[in-house]
Protein backbone atom coordinates (compact mmCIF):
# COMPACT_ATOMS: atom_id res chain seq x y z
CA UNK A 1 0.00 0.00 0.00
CA UNK A 2 1.06 3.55 0.47
CA UNK A 3 4.36 3.45 2.26
CA UNK A 4 4.48 7.17 2.77
CA UNK A 5 1.33 7.16 4.83
CA UNK A 6 2.06 4.19 7.02
CA UNK A 7 5.32 3.95 8.88
CA UNK A 8 5.46 0.18 8.54
CA UNK A 9 4.74 -1.41 5.17
CA UNK A 10 1.99 -3.99 4.94
CA UNK A 11 1.27 -7.04 2.88
CA UNK A 12 -2.09 -7.15 1.10
CA UNK A 13 -3.63 -10.44 2.19
CA UNK A 14 -6.28 -10.77 -0.52
CA UNK A 15 -8.88 -11.82 2.05
CA UNK A 16 -12.01 -9.85 1.03
CA UNK A 17 -12.58 -6.89 3.32
CA UNK A 18 -9.65 -7.68 5.62
CA UNK A 19 -7.28 -5.41 3.77
CA UNK A 20 -9.62 -2.51 4.20
CA UNK A 21 -10.05 -2.90 7.99
CA UNK A 22 -6.29 -3.32 8.35
CA UNK A 23 -5.63 -0.28 6.14
CA UNK A 24 -3.65 -2.41 3.73
CA UNK A 25 -3.03 -5.86 5.14
CA UNK A 26 -0.78 -7.51 7.69
CA UNK A 27 2.48 -5.90 8.82
CA UNK A 28 5.08 -6.97 6.29
CA UNK A 29 7.66 -9.53 7.44
CA UNK A 30 6.16 -9.63 10.91
CA UNK A 31 4.28 -12.28 12.79
CA UNK A 32 0.71 -11.46 13.75
CA UNK A 33 -1.25 -13.36 16.33
CA UNK A 34 -4.67 -14.61 15.27
CA UNK A 35 -6.59 -15.40 18.41
CA UNK A 36 -10.03 -16.92 18.80
CA UNK A 37 -12.17 -19.43 20.64
CA UNK A 38 -12.77 -22.92 19.34
CA UNK A 39 -14.77 -22.77 16.12
CA UNK A 40 -13.93 -19.16 15.36
CA UNK A 41 -12.46 -20.11 11.95
CA UNK A 42 -8.77 -19.66 12.74
CA UNK A 43 -7.65 -22.52 10.52
CA UNK A 44 -9.85 -21.34 7.65
CA UNK A 45 -8.45 -17.84 8.02
CA UNK A 46 -4.89 -19.15 8.06
CA UNK A 47 -5.47 -21.36 5.03
CA UNK A 48 -7.13 -18.52 3.17
CA UNK A 49 -4.19 -16.24 3.93
CA UNK A 50 -1.99 -18.70 2.02
CA UNK A 51 -4.56 -19.53 -0.67
CA UNK A 52 -5.20 -15.86 -1.45
CA UNK A 53 -1.46 -15.27 -1.62
CA UNK A 54 -1.08 -18.01 -4.20
CA UNK A 55 -4.18 -17.15 -6.22
CA UNK A 56 -3.93 -13.38 -6.25
CA UNK A 57 -0.29 -12.49 -5.76
CA UNK A 58 1.61 -15.63 -6.77
CA UNK A 59 3.21 -15.71 -3.34
CA UNK A 60 4.02 -19.23 -2.12
CA UNK A 61 3.17 -20.14 1.46
CA UNK A 62 4.11 -22.56 4.20
CA UNK A 63 1.55 -24.08 6.55
CA UNK A 64 2.97 -25.32 9.83
CA UNK A 65 0.42 -27.55 11.48
CA UNK A 66 0.74 -28.63 15.09
CA UNK A 67 -2.65 -30.19 15.35
CA UNK A 68 -4.55 -31.32 12.27
CA UNK A 69 -2.69 -33.62 9.91
CA UNK A 70 -2.13 -32.14 6.42
CA UNK A 71 -4.49 -34.71 4.90
CA UNK A 72 -7.36 -33.29 6.97
CA UNK A 73 -6.52 -29.72 6.04
CA UNK A 74 -6.31 -30.57 2.35
CA UNK A 75 -9.71 -32.21 2.52
CA UNK A 76 -11.39 -29.54 4.67
CA UNK A 77 -10.23 -26.67 2.48
CA UNK A 78 -11.13 -28.35 -0.81
CA UNK A 79 -14.73 -27.17 -0.34
CA UNK A 80 -13.63 -23.53 -0.49
CA UNK A 81 -12.09 -24.23 -3.87
CA UNK A 82 -8.51 -24.35 -2.61
CA UNK A 83 -6.72 -27.26 -4.23
CA UNK A 84 -3.83 -27.50 -1.80
CA UNK A 85 -2.55 -30.75 -3.24
CA UNK A 86 -2.16 -29.18 -6.68
CA UNK A 87 -0.37 -26.19 -5.15
CA UNK A 88 1.97 -28.53 -3.30
CA UNK A 89 2.80 -30.23 -6.59
CA UNK A 90 3.49 -26.82 -8.14
CA UNK A 91 5.76 -25.86 -5.26
CA UNK A 92 3.46 -23.08 -4.09
CA UNK A 93 2.29 -24.59 -0.85
CA UNK A 94 4.30 -26.62 1.64
CA UNK A 95 3.27 -28.25 4.86
CA UNK A 96 5.49 -28.58 7.87
CA UNK A 97 3.74 -31.37 9.68
CA UNK A 98 4.27 -31.21 13.41
CA UNK A 99 0.99 -32.90 14.25
CA UNK A 100 1.57 -35.41 17.02
CA UNK A 101 2.48 -38.94 16.03
CA UNK A 102 0.11 -41.00 18.09
CA UNK A 103 2.11 -44.15 17.47
CA UNK A 104 5.17 -42.93 19.31
CA UNK A 105 5.30 -42.69 23.04
CA UNK A 106 7.19 -39.56 24.00
CA UNK A 107 8.86 -38.55 27.25
CA UNK A 108 11.02 -35.61 28.24
CA UNK A 109 14.52 -36.52 29.41
CA UNK A 110 16.62 -33.43 29.71
CA UNK A 111 17.09 -30.02 28.19
CA UNK A 112 15.91 -29.27 24.69
CA UNK A 113 14.85 -26.54 22.32
CA UNK A 114 12.69 -26.32 19.20
CA UNK A 115 15.66 -26.21 16.86
CA UNK A 116 14.20 -28.98 14.71
CA UNK A 117 11.00 -27.03 14.14
CA UNK A 118 12.92 -23.93 13.15
CA UNK A 119 15.18 -25.90 10.82
CA UNK A 120 12.20 -27.51 9.13
CA UNK A 121 10.38 -24.19 8.75
CA UNK A 122 13.44 -22.51 7.28
CA UNK A 123 13.92 -25.42 4.94
CA UNK A 124 10.33 -25.26 3.70
CA UNK A 125 10.41 -21.47 3.29
CA UNK A 126 13.63 -21.60 1.28
CA UNK A 127 12.57 -24.59 -0.78
CA UNK A 128 9.45 -22.92 -2.23
CA UNK A 129 10.49 -19.29 -1.80
CA UNK A 130 7.63 -18.67 0.61
CA UNK A 131 6.51 -15.15 1.43
CA UNK A 132 3.71 -16.20 3.75
CA UNK A 133 3.60 -18.61 6.64
CA UNK A 134 0.95 -19.85 9.04
CA UNK A 135 1.48 -21.65 12.34
CA UNK A 136 -1.67 -23.41 13.56
CA UNK A 137 -1.87 -23.45 16.48
CA UNK A 138 0.11 -22.35 19.49
CA UNK A 139 -2.18 -24.27 21.84
CA UNK A 140 -1.27 -27.50 20.10
CA UNK A 141 2.41 -26.77 20.66
CA UNK A 142 1.64 -26.76 24.35
CA UNK A 143 0.03 -30.16 24.20
CA UNK A 144 3.38 -31.47 23.00
CA UNK A 145 5.72 -29.17 24.92
CA UNK A 146 4.36 -28.22 28.29
CA UNK A 147 7.01 -25.77 29.43
CA UNK A 148 5.84 -22.29 28.62
CA UNK A 149 9.29 -20.79 29.20
CA UNK A 150 10.75 -22.94 26.45
CA UNK A 151 7.82 -22.28 24.12
CA UNK A 152 8.07 -18.57 24.73
CA UNK A 153 11.80 -18.39 24.08
CA UNK A 154 11.56 -20.61 21.06
CA UNK A 155 8.60 -18.77 19.55
CA UNK A 156 10.56 -15.54 19.92
CA UNK A 157 13.50 -17.17 18.18
CA UNK A 158 11.21 -18.42 15.42
CA UNK A 159 9.50 -15.07 14.81
CA UNK A 160 12.90 -13.38 14.69
CA UNK A 161 14.10 -15.94 12.16
CA UNK A 162 10.94 -15.47 10.06
CA UNK A 163 11.53 -11.74 9.98
CA UNK A 164 15.04 -12.35 8.63
CA UNK A 165 13.65 -14.72 6.04
CA UNK A 166 11.31 -11.98 4.83
CA UNK A 167 8.17 -13.94 5.61
CA UNK A 168 4.86 -12.42 6.72
CA UNK A 169 3.27 -14.83 9.12
CA UNK A 170 0.24 -15.63 11.22
CA UNK A 171 0.32 -17.56 14.47
CA UNK A 172 -3.04 -18.83 15.65
CA UNK A 173 -3.87 -19.21 19.32
CA UNK A 174 -6.87 -20.32 21.32
CA UNK A 175 -8.73 -18.24 23.81
CA UNK A 176 -11.15 -19.67 26.28
CA UNK A 177 -13.68 -16.85 26.20
CA UNK A 178 -14.76 -14.25 23.69
CA UNK A 179 -13.83 -11.29 25.84
CA UNK A 180 -10.95 -11.47 28.26
CA UNK A 181 -7.33 -12.46 28.02
CA UNK A 182 -6.06 -12.33 24.45
CA UNK A 183 -5.01 -15.93 24.62
CA UNK A 184 -4.73 -18.59 27.22
CA UNK A 185 -1.03 -19.15 27.65
CA UNK A 186 -0.03 -15.64 28.56
CA UNK A 187 3.02 -15.78 26.35
CA UNK A 188 1.43 -14.60 23.15
CA UNK A 189 2.02 -10.94 23.85
CA UNK A 190 5.73 -11.63 24.07
CA UNK A 191 5.72 -13.28 20.72
CA UNK A 192 4.08 -10.65 18.60
CA UNK A 193 3.13 -6.99 18.50
CA UNK A 194 0.17 -7.54 16.25
CA UNK A 195 -3.04 -9.12 17.42
CA UNK A 196 -6.16 -9.98 15.42
CA UNK A 197 -9.14 -11.47 17.25
CA UNK A 198 -11.83 -13.65 15.70
CA UNK A 199 -15.10 -13.97 17.59
CA UNK A 200 -18.10 -16.20 17.24
CA UNK A 201 -20.64 -14.58 19.51
CA UNK A 202 -24.10 -15.50 20.52
CA UNK A 203 -26.13 -12.29 20.28
CA UNK A 204 -29.89 -12.36 20.78
CA UNK A 205 -29.74 -16.11 20.17
CA UNK A 206 -28.03 -15.57 16.84
CA UNK A 207 -24.47 -16.43 15.91
CA UNK A 208 -22.47 -13.50 14.79
CA UNK A 209 -18.89 -13.76 13.63
CA UNK A 210 -16.70 -10.73 13.99
CA UNK A 211 -13.08 -9.82 13.50
CA UNK A 212 -11.18 -7.13 15.34
CA UNK A 213 -7.69 -5.75 14.92
CA UNK A 214 -6.68 -5.41 18.55
CA UNK A 215 -3.31 -3.88 17.86
CA UNK A 216 -0.76 -3.34 15.13
CA UNK A 217 2.33 -1.87 16.66
CA UNK A 218 3.69 1.05 14.74
CA UNK A 219 1.00 1.19 12.12
CA UNK A 220 -2.63 2.13 11.77
CA UNK A 221 -5.80 0.07 11.34
CA UNK A 222 -9.57 0.42 11.68
CA UNK A 223 -10.89 0.09 15.22
CA UNK A 224 -13.67 -2.09 16.49
CA UNK A 225 -15.38 -5.30 15.53
CA UNK A 226 -16.36 -6.03 11.95
CA UNK A 227 -18.73 -8.80 11.00
CA UNK A 228 -17.54 -11.50 8.70
CA UNK A 229 -19.07 -14.53 7.09
CA UNK A 230 -17.70 -17.77 5.75
CA UNK A 231 -18.84 -18.27 2.22
CA UNK A 232 -19.02 -21.94 1.32
CA UNK A 233 -17.28 -21.32 -2.00
CA UNK A 234 -14.75 -18.66 -1.20
CA UNK A 235 -14.02 -18.63 2.50
CA UNK A 236 -13.96 -15.64 4.77
CA UNK A 237 -15.47 -12.35 3.68
CA UNK A 238 -15.04 -9.46 6.08
CA UNK A 239 -17.69 -6.76 5.85
CA UNK A 240 -15.89 -3.47 6.46
CA UNK A 241 -19.15 -1.64 7.02
CA UNK A 242 -18.44 1.48 8.98
CA UNK A 243 -15.14 1.83 7.18
CA UNK A 244 -17.18 2.47 4.05
CA UNK A 245 -20.04 4.42 5.44
CA UNK A 246 -19.32 7.98 4.50
CA UNK A 247 -17.25 7.64 1.39
CA UNK A 248 -19.98 7.73 -1.25
CA UNK A 249 -20.10 10.40 -3.83
CA UNK A 250 -23.39 11.92 -4.73
CA UNK A 251 -24.85 13.02 -7.98
CA UNK A 252 -27.52 15.43 -9.13
CA UNK A 253 -28.87 12.97 -11.69
CA UNK A 254 -32.52 12.23 -11.14
CA UNK A 255 -34.45 9.14 -12.05
CA UNK A 256 -38.16 8.60 -12.08
CA UNK A 257 -39.97 6.84 -9.28
CA UNK A 258 -42.40 5.51 -11.86
CA UNK A 259 -45.09 7.88 -10.70
CA UNK A 260 -45.13 11.41 -12.11
CA UNK A 261 -46.74 12.99 -9.08
CA UNK A 262 -44.37 11.27 -6.68
CA UNK A 263 -41.51 12.59 -8.82
CA UNK A 264 -42.92 16.07 -8.41
CA UNK A 265 -43.26 15.61 -4.67
CA UNK A 266 -39.58 14.66 -4.53
CA UNK A 267 -38.58 17.76 -6.45
CA UNK A 268 -38.04 15.98 -9.76
CA UNK A 269 -37.58 12.31 -9.02
CA UNK A 270 -35.21 10.25 -6.87
CA UNK A 271 -31.48 10.84 -7.06
CA UNK A 272 -29.75 8.16 -9.09
CA UNK A 273 -27.31 6.91 -6.47
CA UNK A 274 -29.55 7.29 -3.48
CA UNK A 275 -31.38 4.90 -1.27
CA UNK A 276 -35.03 5.48 -0.52
CA UNK A 277 -37.00 3.94 2.31
CA UNK A 278 -40.75 3.49 1.84
CA UNK A 279 -42.35 2.84 5.17
CA UNK A 280 -45.90 1.95 5.97
CA UNK A 281 -48.34 -0.51 7.44
CA UNK A 282 -49.44 -3.53 5.52
CA UNK A 283 -51.65 -2.60 2.57
CA UNK A 284 -50.61 1.03 2.30
CA UNK A 285 -48.98 0.57 -1.09
CA UNK A 286 -45.35 -0.35 -0.44
CA UNK A 287 -45.18 -3.22 -2.87
CA UNK A 288 -47.04 -1.07 -5.38
CA UNK A 289 -44.42 1.66 -4.90
CA UNK A 290 -41.77 -0.95 -5.68
CA UNK A 291 -43.71 -2.16 -8.72
CA UNK A 292 -43.94 1.42 -10.02
CA UNK A 293 -40.25 1.87 -9.41
CA UNK A 294 -39.56 -1.20 -11.54
CA UNK A 295 -41.96 -0.15 -14.27
CA UNK A 296 -40.53 3.39 -14.33
CA UNK A 297 -37.10 1.91 -14.80
CA UNK A 298 -38.17 -0.57 -17.45
CA UNK A 299 -39.80 2.22 -19.47
CA UNK A 300 -36.37 3.85 -19.69
CA UNK A 301 -34.47 0.66 -20.44
CA UNK A 302 -33.08 0.42 -16.93
CA UNK A 303 -32.55 -2.98 -15.40
CA UNK A 304 -34.03 -3.73 -12.04
CA UNK A 305 -33.23 -6.35 -9.45
CA UNK A 306 -35.92 -7.13 -6.90
CA UNK A 307 -35.23 -9.01 -3.68
CA UNK A 308 -38.49 -10.19 -2.21
CA UNK A 309 -38.51 -11.46 1.36
CA UNK A 310 -42.20 -11.39 2.08
CA UNK A 311 -44.10 -12.66 -0.91
CA UNK A 312 -43.66 -15.58 -3.25
CA UNK A 313 -42.93 -15.14 -6.94
CA UNK A 314 -46.49 -16.11 -7.84
CA UNK A 315 -47.96 -13.54 -5.49
CA UNK A 316 -45.65 -10.79 -6.69
CA UNK A 317 -46.28 -11.53 -10.35
CA UNK A 318 -50.02 -11.69 -9.80
CA UNK A 319 -50.01 -8.39 -7.93
CA UNK A 320 -48.01 -6.73 -10.69
CA UNK A 321 -50.38 -8.08 -13.28
CA UNK A 322 -53.24 -6.67 -11.25
CA UNK A 323 -51.64 -3.24 -11.62
CA UNK A 324 -50.99 -3.72 -15.32
CA UNK A 325 -47.34 -4.73 -15.30
CA UNK A 326 -46.09 -8.00 -16.77
CA UNK A 327 -43.12 -9.21 -14.70
CA UNK A 328 -42.77 -12.36 -16.81
CA UNK A 329 -42.18 -10.37 -19.96
CA UNK A 330 -39.78 -8.04 -18.17
CA UNK A 331 -37.78 -10.98 -16.86
CA UNK A 332 -37.67 -12.55 -20.27
CA UNK A 333 -36.40 -9.35 -21.84
CA UNK A 334 -33.67 -9.11 -19.21
CA UNK A 335 -34.96 -5.88 -17.72
CA UNK A 336 -35.93 -7.50 -14.44
CA UNK A 337 -34.72 -10.18 -12.14
CA UNK A 338 -36.78 -11.24 -9.15
CA UNK A 339 -35.16 -13.15 -6.32
CA UNK A 340 -37.44 -14.51 -3.65
CA UNK A 341 -36.01 -15.88 -0.44
CA UNK A 342 -37.12 -16.63 3.06
CA UNK A 343 -35.33 -14.31 5.45
CA UNK A 344 -34.58 -17.22 7.76
CA UNK A 345 -32.59 -19.26 5.24
CA UNK A 346 -29.38 -17.45 6.12
CA UNK A 347 -27.77 -15.05 8.54
CA UNK A 348 -27.66 -11.37 7.71
CA UNK A 349 -24.00 -11.51 6.70
CA UNK A 350 -24.76 -14.35 4.31
CA UNK A 351 -27.76 -12.48 2.89
CA UNK A 352 -25.55 -9.47 2.33
CA UNK A 353 -22.85 -11.50 0.60
CA UNK A 354 -25.31 -13.27 -1.67
CA UNK A 355 -27.24 -10.06 -2.44
CA UNK A 356 -23.99 -8.34 -3.35
CA UNK A 357 -23.01 -11.14 -5.65
CA UNK A 358 -26.46 -11.11 -7.31
CA UNK A 359 -26.13 -7.38 -7.82
CA UNK A 360 -22.66 -7.77 -9.25
CA UNK A 361 -23.71 -10.46 -11.67
CA UNK A 362 -26.96 -8.83 -12.84
CA UNK A 363 -25.58 -5.26 -12.85
CA UNK A 364 -28.94 -3.55 -12.42
CA UNK A 365 -29.62 0.20 -12.49
CA UNK A 366 -32.16 -0.18 -9.73
CA UNK A 367 -32.35 -2.42 -6.72
CA UNK A 368 -35.49 -2.93 -4.70
CA UNK A 369 -35.85 -4.80 -1.43
CA UNK A 370 -39.37 -5.74 -0.33
CA UNK A 371 -39.31 -5.73 2.57
CA UNK A 372 -36.20 -4.86 4.44
CA UNK A 373 -38.00 -5.20 7.75
CA UNK A 374 -38.56 -8.90 7.07
CA UNK A 375 -34.84 -9.28 7.64
CA UNK A 376 -34.96 -7.60 11.04
CA UNK A 377 -35.80 -10.82 12.79
CA UNK A 378 -32.84 -12.67 11.34
CA UNK A 379 -30.16 -10.82 13.25
CA UNK A 380 -29.51 -8.65 16.25
CA UNK A 381 -30.28 -4.94 16.12
CA UNK A 382 -26.62 -4.12 15.67
CA UNK A 383 -26.19 -6.77 13.01
CA UNK A 384 -29.23 -5.42 11.17
CA UNK A 385 -27.92 -1.91 11.19
CA UNK A 386 -24.59 -3.12 9.84
CA UNK A 387 -26.38 -5.10 7.18
CA UNK A 388 -28.30 -2.04 6.03
CA UNK A 389 -25.18 0.10 6.03
CA UNK A 390 -23.36 -2.54 4.03
CA UNK A 391 -26.13 -2.90 1.48
CA UNK A 392 -26.73 0.84 1.21
CA UNK A 393 -23.10 1.72 0.68
CA UNK A 394 -22.67 -1.09 -1.82
CA UNK A 395 -25.65 0.11 -3.87
CA UNK A 396 -24.54 3.72 -3.81
CA UNK A 397 -20.99 2.79 -4.59
CA UNK A 398 -22.22 1.10 -7.74
CA UNK A 399 -24.20 4.17 -8.74
CA UNK A 400 -27.54 2.50 -8.51
CA UNK A 401 -30.79 3.58 -6.94
CA UNK A 402 -32.17 1.52 -4.12
CA UNK A 403 -35.73 1.36 -2.88
CA UNK A 404 -36.26 -0.46 0.41
CA UNK A 405 -39.59 -1.00 2.06
CA UNK A 406 -40.26 -1.26 5.77
CA UNK A 407 -43.44 -2.52 7.34
CA UNK A 408 -44.67 -0.69 10.41
CA UNK A 409 -46.19 -2.89 13.08
CA UNK A 410 -49.23 -0.71 13.73
CA UNK A 411 -51.84 0.26 11.20
CA UNK A 412 -52.05 3.88 12.22
CA UNK A 413 -48.93 5.93 12.67
CA UNK A 414 -46.00 4.38 14.44
CA UNK A 415 -42.50 3.60 13.31
CA UNK A 416 -40.84 0.28 12.60
CA UNK A 417 -37.58 -0.94 14.02
CA UNK A 418 -36.23 -0.70 10.50
CA UNK A 419 -37.04 2.98 10.38
CA UNK A 420 -35.54 3.68 13.75
CA UNK A 421 -32.31 1.99 12.75
CA UNK A 422 -31.84 3.09 9.24
CA UNK A 423 -33.62 6.38 8.76
CA UNK A 424 -30.32 8.18 9.12
CA UNK A 425 -28.66 5.91 6.58
CA UNK A 426 -31.14 6.32 3.77
CA UNK A 427 -31.25 9.44 1.66
CA UNK A 428 -34.99 9.74 1.35
CA UNK A 429 -37.98 8.50 3.28
CA UNK A 430 -41.50 8.06 1.95
CA UNK A 431 -44.18 7.53 4.53
CA UNK A 432 -47.30 5.61 3.55
CA UNK A 433 -50.00 5.81 6.15
CA UNK A 434 -53.61 4.94 6.79
CA UNK A 435 -55.75 7.93 7.67
CA UNK A 436 -59.09 7.41 9.34
CA UNK A 437 -61.53 10.10 8.35
CA UNK A 438 -65.13 10.13 9.49
CA UNK A 439 -65.09 6.37 9.89
CA UNK A 440 -63.46 5.64 6.55
CA UNK A 441 -59.93 4.36 6.04
CA UNK A 442 -58.00 6.34 3.48
CA UNK A 443 -54.37 6.22 2.46
CA UNK A 444 -51.89 9.02 2.69
CA UNK A 445 -48.37 9.55 1.51
CA UNK A 446 -45.71 12.10 2.31
CA UNK A 447 -42.06 12.66 1.53
CA UNK A 448 -40.52 12.93 4.96
CA UNK A 449 -36.96 13.46 3.90
CA UNK A 450 -35.19 14.09 0.65
CA UNK A 451 -31.49 14.58 1.18
CA UNK A 452 -30.05 17.36 -0.95
CA UNK A 453 -33.29 18.60 -2.42
CA UNK A 454 -36.47 20.50 -1.80
CA UNK A 455 -39.56 18.37 -1.56
CA UNK A 456 -43.28 18.58 -1.07
CA UNK A 457 -44.08 18.71 2.65
CA UNK A 458 -47.76 17.93 2.33
CA UNK A 459 -49.50 14.71 3.14
CA UNK A 460 -51.37 13.62 0.05
CA UNK A 461 -54.16 11.22 -0.39
CA UNK A 462 -53.41 8.04 -2.28
CA UNK A 463 -55.86 5.75 -3.98
CA UNK A 464 -55.07 2.39 -5.45
CA UNK A 465 -56.98 0.72 -8.25
CA UNK A 466 -56.39 -1.71 -11.09
CA UNK A 467 -54.24 0.78 -12.95
CA UNK A 468 -51.94 1.43 -10.02
CA UNK A 469 -51.35 4.24 -7.60
CA UNK A 470 -52.97 7.64 -7.86
CA UNK A 471 -51.69 10.44 -5.73
CA UNK A 472 -54.31 13.05 -5.14
CA UNK A 473 -54.73 16.28 -3.26
CA UNK A 474 -53.22 17.03 0.12
CA UNK A 475 -55.33 16.33 3.17
CA UNK A 476 -56.69 19.66 4.31
CA UNK A 477 -57.84 20.62 7.74
CA UNK A 478 -56.49 17.46 9.30
CA UNK A 479 -53.55 17.21 11.60
CA UNK A 480 -51.97 14.37 13.54
CA UNK A 481 -52.00 11.93 10.63
CA UNK A 482 -48.43 10.78 11.12
CA UNK A 483 -49.01 10.28 14.80
CA UNK A 484 -51.98 8.11 13.95
CA UNK A 485 -54.49 10.41 15.61
CA UNK A 486 -55.93 12.66 12.92
CA UNK A 487 -57.67 15.72 14.28
CA UNK A 488 -60.09 17.59 12.10
CA UNK A 489 -59.87 21.32 12.43
CA UNK A 490 -63.13 23.25 12.57
CA UNK A 491 -63.95 25.92 10.01
CA UNK A 492 -63.57 28.61 12.62
CA UNK A 493 -60.14 27.37 13.63
CA UNK A 494 -59.03 27.36 10.00
CA UNK A 495 -60.24 30.89 9.50
CA UNK A 496 -58.39 31.98 12.60
CA UNK A 497 -55.15 30.32 11.42
CA UNK A 498 -55.52 31.90 8.01
CA UNK A 499 -55.96 35.27 9.59
CA UNK A 500 -52.80 34.77 11.56
CA UNK A 501 -50.73 34.48 8.42
CA UNK A 502 -52.56 37.00 6.33
CA UNK A 503 -51.58 39.84 8.57
Amino acid sequence: MNEKLSPLPKLLTGIPGFDSITNGGLPLHRTSLLSGTAGSAKTVFGSQFLAAGIEQFDQPGVFVTFEEPPADIRRNMMGFGWDIEAWEAQGKWAFVDVSPLLTDETVIGGEYDLGALLARMENAVKRIGAQRLVMDSLGAVFTQIAESKIVRNEMLRITTALKKLGVTSLLTAERTEEFGAIARYGIEEFVTDNVVVLRNNLEDEKRRRTIEILKFRGTDHQKGEYPFTIHPRGGIIVLPLSALELKQQSTDLRITSGNAILDEMCGGGFFRDSVILASGATGTGKTLTVTQFISGGAARDERCLLFAFEESREQLFRNARGWGLDFHALEKSGALRVICAYPEVAGLEDHLVSMKSEIESFKPNRVAVDSLSALERVGSAKGFREFVIGLTSFIKHHEMAGLFTATTPTLLGGASVTEAHISTITDSILLLRYVEMYGVMRRGMTVLKMRGSMHDKEIREVSIDSTGMHIGAPFRHVSGILAGVPVHASEREIARLNDLFDQ
Binding site: G109, L117, I145
Partner: protein, 108 residues
Protein backbone atom coordinates in the same frame (compact mmCIF):
# COMPACT_ATOMS: atom_id res chain seq x y z
CA UNK B 1 20.24 -60.93 20.89
CA UNK B 2 18.33 -58.09 19.23
CA UNK B 3 20.33 -55.12 18.09
CA UNK B 4 18.72 -51.92 19.35
CA UNK B 5 18.30 -49.28 16.66
CA UNK B 6 18.28 -45.59 17.52
CA UNK B 7 18.05 -42.31 15.70
CA UNK B 8 19.20 -39.18 17.44
CA UNK B 9 18.11 -35.88 15.95
CA UNK B 10 20.25 -32.90 16.86
CA UNK B 11 20.58 -29.29 15.69
CA UNK B 12 24.12 -28.58 14.58
CA UNK B 13 27.01 -28.81 16.99
CA UNK B 14 25.32 -27.17 19.92
CA UNK B 15 26.28 -28.02 23.46
CA UNK B 16 22.92 -29.72 23.96
CA UNK B 17 23.55 -31.94 20.94
CA UNK B 18 27.00 -32.90 22.16
CA UNK B 19 25.65 -33.62 25.62
CA UNK B 20 22.94 -35.87 24.26
CA UNK B 21 25.45 -37.95 22.30
CA UNK B 22 27.79 -38.20 25.28
CA UNK B 23 24.96 -39.10 27.66
CA UNK B 24 23.70 -41.86 25.39
CA UNK B 25 27.16 -43.36 24.90
CA UNK B 26 27.86 -43.16 28.61
CA UNK B 27 24.59 -44.91 29.30
CA UNK B 28 25.40 -47.83 27.03
CA UNK B 29 28.90 -48.05 28.45
CA UNK B 30 27.20 -49.62 31.48
CA UNK B 31 25.82 -52.39 29.28
CA UNK B 32 28.81 -53.61 27.30
CA UNK B 33 26.99 -56.69 25.98
CA UNK B 34 24.14 -54.73 24.42
CA UNK B 35 24.48 -54.15 20.74
CA UNK B 36 23.02 -50.98 19.37
CA UNK B 37 23.03 -48.95 16.21
CA UNK B 38 22.91 -45.18 16.52
CA UNK B 39 22.36 -42.79 13.61
CA UNK B 40 22.91 -39.15 14.40
CA UNK B 41 20.92 -36.81 12.18
CA UNK B 42 21.57 -33.10 12.04
CA UNK B 43 18.22 -31.46 11.24
CA UNK B 44 19.96 -28.48 9.65
CA UNK B 45 21.73 -30.70 7.15
CA UNK B 46 18.89 -33.18 6.71
CA UNK B 47 15.59 -31.38 7.36
CA UNK B 48 13.73 -33.93 5.27
CA UNK B 49 14.60 -36.67 7.71
CA UNK B 50 13.18 -34.51 10.50
CA UNK B 51 10.12 -33.93 8.36
CA UNK B 52 9.59 -37.65 7.91
CA UNK B 53 9.70 -38.27 11.64
CA UNK B 54 7.70 -35.14 12.66
CA UNK B 55 10.54 -33.93 14.83
CA UNK B 56 9.60 -30.83 16.83
CA UNK B 57 12.36 -30.49 19.41
CA UNK B 58 16.02 -31.30 19.53
CA UNK B 59 17.68 -33.35 20.74
CA UNK B 60 15.17 -36.17 20.16
CA UNK B 61 16.13 -39.80 20.53
CA UNK B 62 13.93 -42.38 18.82
CA UNK B 63 14.21 -46.05 19.58
CA UNK B 64 13.04 -47.80 16.41
CA UNK B 65 13.92 -51.40 17.27
CA UNK B 66 12.48 -53.15 19.10
CA UNK B 67 9.00 -51.71 18.41
CA UNK B 68 6.93 -49.87 19.47
CA UNK B 69 8.83 -46.67 18.72
CA UNK B 70 9.74 -44.61 21.75
CA UNK B 71 10.96 -41.04 21.93
CA UNK B 72 12.93 -39.13 24.46
CA UNK B 73 13.08 -35.38 24.00
CA UNK B 74 16.04 -33.65 25.66
CA UNK B 75 19.74 -34.06 26.18
CA UNK B 76 19.28 -37.40 28.01
CA UNK B 77 20.68 -35.93 31.20
CA UNK B 78 17.76 -37.49 33.09
CA UNK B 79 19.28 -40.93 33.41
CA UNK B 80 16.24 -42.33 35.19
CA UNK B 81 13.96 -41.41 32.27
CA UNK B 82 16.41 -42.89 29.83
CA UNK B 83 16.61 -46.07 31.85
CA UNK B 84 12.83 -46.42 32.08
CA UNK B 85 12.26 -45.61 28.45
CA UNK B 86 14.94 -47.60 26.76
CA UNK B 87 14.17 -50.49 29.05
CA UNK B 88 17.62 -51.77 29.84
CA UNK B 89 17.43 -52.84 33.41
CA UNK B 90 20.12 -53.51 35.88
CA UNK B 91 19.73 -56.95 37.46
CA UNK B 92 18.74 -55.34 40.76
CA UNK B 93 15.70 -53.71 39.26
CA UNK B 94 13.39 -55.60 36.97
CA UNK B 95 10.22 -53.54 37.25
CA UNK B 96 9.48 -51.69 34.08
CA UNK B 97 6.89 -49.06 33.22
CA UNK B 98 6.64 -50.39 29.73
CA UNK B 99 4.92 -53.45 28.51
CA UNK B 100 7.25 -54.39 25.72
CA UNK B 101 7.53 -58.03 24.98
CA UNK B 102 10.52 -59.90 23.64
CA UNK B 103 13.09 -57.63 25.18
CA UNK B 104 14.53 -60.18 27.55
CA UNK B 105 17.26 -60.99 25.12
CA UNK B 106 18.67 -57.52 25.46
CA UNK B 107 18.85 -57.76 29.22
CA UNK B 108 21.77 -58.98 31.13
Amino acid sequence: MVTLVFELFVTGRTRQSQRAIQNLRAYFADFPDVEYELTIIDVIEQPDRAEERHILATPTLIRLVPPPPLRIIGDLSDREIVRQTIGLLSSADDSSNHSHQGEDSSHE
